[in-house]
Symmetry: C2
Subunit: 227 residues, 2 copies
Amino acid sequence: MTNRTLISHFPLCPLCRLVRLAFYEKGIPHAVWTEMPWQRRPEFLAKNPLGTLPIITETQTDEYVLSGATTICEYLDEIAPMPDLIGESPRGRAEVRRLVEWTLGVFYLDVVKPILEERVYKTLQHKGVPDSAVLRMARQNYKILMPYLDWVASRRAYLGGRHLSYADLAMAAQLSVLDYLGELTWDNLPGAKTWYAKIKSRKSFNSLLQDKIGGIMPSDNYTLFDF
Amino acid sequence: MTNRTLISHFPLCPLCRLVRLAFYEKGIPHAVWTEMPWQRRPEFLAKNPLGTLPIITETQTDEYVLSGATTICEYLDEIAPMPDLIGESPRGRAEVRRLVEWTLGVFYLDVVKPILEERVYKTLQHKGVPDSAVLRMARQNYKILMPYLDWVASRRAYLGGRHLSYADLAMAAQLSVLDYLGELTWDNLPGAKTWYAKIKSRKSFNSLLQDKIGGIMPSDNYTLFDF
């Protein structure tokens, strides 16, 4: 067996999806392992005592490599610079990083994470029914934040500028989870919708669209490119 | 007037403090402007429609440059690589970024942010008294997370390895805010305490220790190096 990188992930975790997309887009061979972080398996915690996903390890040596979506993306950019997914100039790279920071630090926390926790993690852990107040707040945040994505997407070929970058992968990973859960709406968001259709039809997205989680079925639109 | 960078900050925001420390450590001339983001001043929102701190602008042209603590730190590393604050090898840089990601994505969100919101932002906005349940949860998280810091700090000269890095600045910025609010305790955390005393006594920390917020006084230990 050749030594490959193993991505420990949970299929509907958008941070893990960002990392999987990054590996695909950079053409780096890898395998994936599904981890339920709430099970707190000793073998998993031995590699990452913080218990967070995603992490990457080496399949042959089982050696821990790295944890954290942004950290892994920056690392991939350093060990495999081409195709470039951050940008070339310091200002261009800063714009990509700014959008990624907003996506993971605001959009994920205020929209995707609460919806995931209520609708997926609670179900899988048999922890009761979704809290409708939390879902309402997250959906309200979606309506507040999406116009910013639409504004950026309407002005540029890709979110970070003229080329595909981590900014696109980070945001598309978030939307793909909402898409699975049937939480996407596109009223008055034509720029965002066109941009998402473009990213969704990329080859790297294929594996995400084949994800299935036991007990939680994807929405009808999930695998459609023309939604 | 020479063109300098202006950091728009709120004095007790640990993300802003990280950026201020980074400018000091790299010896980059700068000025600071105190912004109360909840006032949503049109001039501020015109530069950063997301309304988040920190942002940096040019004093002469008033041109918006960048927002987001991690993004600004990575940008500074690109335009002013020395002194190095990320590390030299891809794996070394990944370790620093991993620690920064944990500090901002976990420690800040689960400990510092809720304490700041309840004890500072609510007061300054006349929004009532702190929610004791939120404070209790944040202080409980402090007790859960600090042993990890202690574990790392006990094994290395600096958090990221042998040299000062953004990992130290990011974490020390968090602790400095808790320090101001009298929320630091060091029971069974000797490694973390020694490490924090070392970072706190750096010249770059001086300006933070002079911060005062109207109506919210610093704790007795705040300016002590021997606490």
